[in-house]
């Protein structure tokens, strides 16, 4: 009996051992299958589940003014999207969108677009991109099914409308669409990077490895001075309103370096808002051409002096106050009598300046026009600059030189006129304008002499007389030497195809004539209404208003008043 039980027990043990062996073999087989045969596949799956390759967005460069004040910067904000992760039905998705419509201020069109995409069963639908923090918090608190948020950069322009035409703006994908945002888009944008994130079973990141480092966009430093830009915009907007004008522009620069301190164009826009209208977006300082009128007499006078066609003492008969030109009559605003060359300029006599201009050979006149940079872009770092129009002498009609002498029949931009005025302020050296400070391009790069210095100095004296007792007295600032030239251009009546005396373009271009010139400025006001339509009455006061504020801002004191000097003999022991 005992032997039987022992045998039975041994059989049981063997069976158990066999079962364990089979179990172990099955396990080993499964392990062999998982670890050896299908190792690569399962490893790939694990890696797939636990790691993310994420793109690292490159931060768009910040734009500063010349004093380091922020003009444009990108900051992270939230964007809301719908992704039916839990297979939400289209009805649920529509209800969710309806719940968000109020918080996100969705327009009817936006909702219709989203609902069309829901009907198409899209797996990823943007609801609203780049929302503000309050809206993001409100969306988050609703915990709506299928609604998620993603961080994206948004461009902020903390100064609002300030320098909008210089800065431009970006689209929803942060691509520069105008201004320096557009011209320097590649530099500002930088390059996106990639990173590897390893996560544990609870999706917590425990390892972050940068595969490709993001290259942040380059910061830009502009030549613009925030304060001067503000003065220019304020004064321009005020003048446009006061004169019910259609548009205007102001540019302020340092003549010696060509650096633009302010560039204002009106109408303007707020780059923080949606894309502006084409009318507001147009940068009229560089992209609108006009007949310059009398400001162009600076070029005629310079060419005449340089080529010896006139001398300072020459006199011109302007007593009739009118010149007949092939059936048309060019008038002065009043008969002046006999004027010296300097008086012709300072009183802006058309009759006198036509006599001056027509003393020049055609080639001499045209060479001067080209030397001053007309008919070609100045090359300022802004998009949309136009050439203007300066036809060669071969295309001129009989009286074109006479008309061009007084600034008609030639089209220029405001920045070209300022560049020409800067030649006079710089003793004959043309310095191309610039708006971005760039170490690779030192200030004054590309400068070239286009006028003998003595001629430029002679013209400076004459231009000071314009402000002291000529047509530009409204630009006078006591204690400061101002040189400049007024311009009043009759506008072309598109219907009649002729100039009309009812509508004008008023301008004033000048500079503070210190050594070196402290700054230069051009003011252009188009189509002012009311009694005052002359450059001297509309644009020159704007020049004065802005210049006064700039002089204070730059802490440039007035020259001491010239008072009689009293000499007093003091007795010994006189006090202090």
């Amino acid at each position: 009996m005992k032997a039987f039980e022992s045998e039975r027990s041994q059989w049981r043990l063997k069976a158990l051992g066999l079962a364990l062996l089979v179990w172990a073999l099955v396990l080993a087989g499964r392990l062999f299958q998982l670890q050896i045969l299908r190792h690569d596949r399962f490893k790939a799956e694990v890696v797939e589940q636990n790691q993310n390759i994420r793109t690292i967005p490159a931060r768009r460069g910040t734009i500063y003014d010349r004093r380091g004040r922020i003009l444009a910067r990108s900051l992270p904000v939230q964007s809301v999207f719908l992704s039916p992760a839990a297979k939400e039905t289209p009805d649920v998705q529509r209800r969710v969108v309806s719940d968000l419509a109020g918080i996100l201020s969705l327009s009817r069109e936006e909702r219709a677009k989203i609902e069309a995409r829901i009907d198409k069963k899209d797996r990823f639908i943007w609801i609203k991109r780049k929302i503000d923090d309050e809206a993001a918090l409100a969306v988050e608190s609703l915990r709506l099914p299928g609604i998620f948020m993603q961080e994206e950069p948004r461009r902020f322009y903390p100064q609002g409308r300030l320098a909008a035409h210089v800065l431009g703006f970006v689209n929803i994908d942060e691509k520069g669409k105008n201004g320096v945002e557009n011209v320097f888009n590649e530099d500002l944008a930088g390059r996106m990077g990639r990173s590897l994130i390893l996560r544990d079973a609870r999706r917590r990141a425990y390892h972050l490895e940068v595969i490709e480092r993001a290259v942040p966009g380059r910061d830009l430093e502009l030549t613009i001075d925030e304060s001067i830009q503000y003065f220019a915009q304020q004064a321009l907007a005020g003048a446009i309103k006061a004169h019910e004008a259609s548009w205007g522009t102001v540019i302020v620069s340092y003549p010696a370096t060509g650096e633009i301190l302010a560039l204002a164009s009106f109408p303007d826009f707020d780059p923080n808002q949606a894309a502006p209208s084409p009318e507001a977006e147009l940068n009229r300082a560089i992209a609108v051409q006009f007949d310059p009128g009398s400001t162009f007499k600076i070029v005629t006078a310079a060419a005449a002096l340089e080529n010896g066609a006139v001398r300072a003492g020459d006199r011109f008969d302007c007593s009739r106050g009118v010149v007949p030109l092939a059936g048309n009559f060019v008038h002065d605003h009043k008969p002046f009598g006999i004027l010296s060359f300097a008086d012709v300029v300072s009183h802006s006599s058309n009759v006198g300046m036509i006599q001056v201009g027509t003393r020049l050979a055609r080639g001499e006149f045209y060479d001067a026009v080209k030397a001053f940079g007309f008919g070609a872009k100045t090359g300022v770092d802004l998009p949309g600059e136009i050439d203007g129009t300066a036809h060669p002498p071969s295309q001129w009609a009989a009286n074109d030189q006479a008309y061009q002498s007084i600034g008609y029949g030639i089209s220029v931009t405001a920045i070209q006129v300022l560049q020409a005025v800067n030649v006079i302020a710089n003793d004959g050296v043309l310095v191309p304008p610039r708006i971005v400070r760039d170490e690779s391009r030192p200030a004054g790069a590309g400068a070239r002499s286009v006028l003998p210095a003595p001629v430029a100095r002679q013209l400076r004296e004459i231009l000071r007389r314009v402000v002291e007792d000529g047509t530009g007295t409204s630009a006078r600032i006591p204690g400061y030497p101002i040189a400049g030239k007024t311009g009043t251009t009759q506008k072309l009546d598109e219907t009649l195809r002729r100039y009309t005396s009812l509508r004008h373009l008023a301008s004033f271009a000048g500079f503070v004539d210190s050594h070196p010139a402290a700054f230069s400025m051009i003011v252009v006001i188009d189509d002012p209404r009311g009694d005052d339509q002359y450059g001297g009455l509309v644009a020159a006061p704007v020049f004065r208003e802005i210049a006064q504020r700039i002089l204070r801002h730059l802490r440039i004191p007035p020259a001491p008043a010239e008072t009689p000097v009293l000499t007093v003999a003091l007795a010994a022991g006189g006090g202090r």
Binding site: R66, R67, G68, R69, I70, R73, L75, P76, F156, P158, Q159, G160, L162, R204, A205, Y206, H207, L208, D225, E226, S227, Y230, Q234, Y254, P478, G479, S514, P516, A518, F519, Q548, R552, L554, R555, I556, P557, P558
Partner: protein, 101 residues
């Protein structure tokens, strides 16, 4: 003759075993520590990035608050300030054509 482990051998084997356990323990500790530091670094990196962002946001908000039109509006309408007359301005320590930076 059956070989018997001597006291010395037993001690040696014990030491090897202890060393192996110690090495394994150290390895496990080092792995755990490395992962813990990974978490910590991740958190700190995020905190740093968040703080950098916050600084930039604050700088931008400051720029918006100091926007010149806002300052002028406040100065004129709320504080009643007016433009100084030329004779009220005293220039000192000036730089001709001077500018910042």
């Amino acid at each position: 003759m059956r070989g018997r482990l001597g006291r010395k051998d037993i001690l040696l084997l014990g030491a090897v075993a202890v060393c192996a356990v110690a090495i394994l323990t150290f390895y496990l500790w080092q792995q755990t520590e490395s992962i813990r530091l990974g978490y910590e670094t991740g958190i700190l990196e995020k905190q740093r990035a968040d703080l950098v962002e916050e600084i930039k946001t604050l700088e931008t908000r400051r720029a918006a608050l100091l926007a010149l039109d806002r300052v002028e509006r406040t100065a004129r309408s709320e504080l009643g300030l007016v433009e100084a007359r030329e004779d009220q301005i005293i220039y000192h320590d000036f730089v001709f054509g001077g500018e910042g930076r």
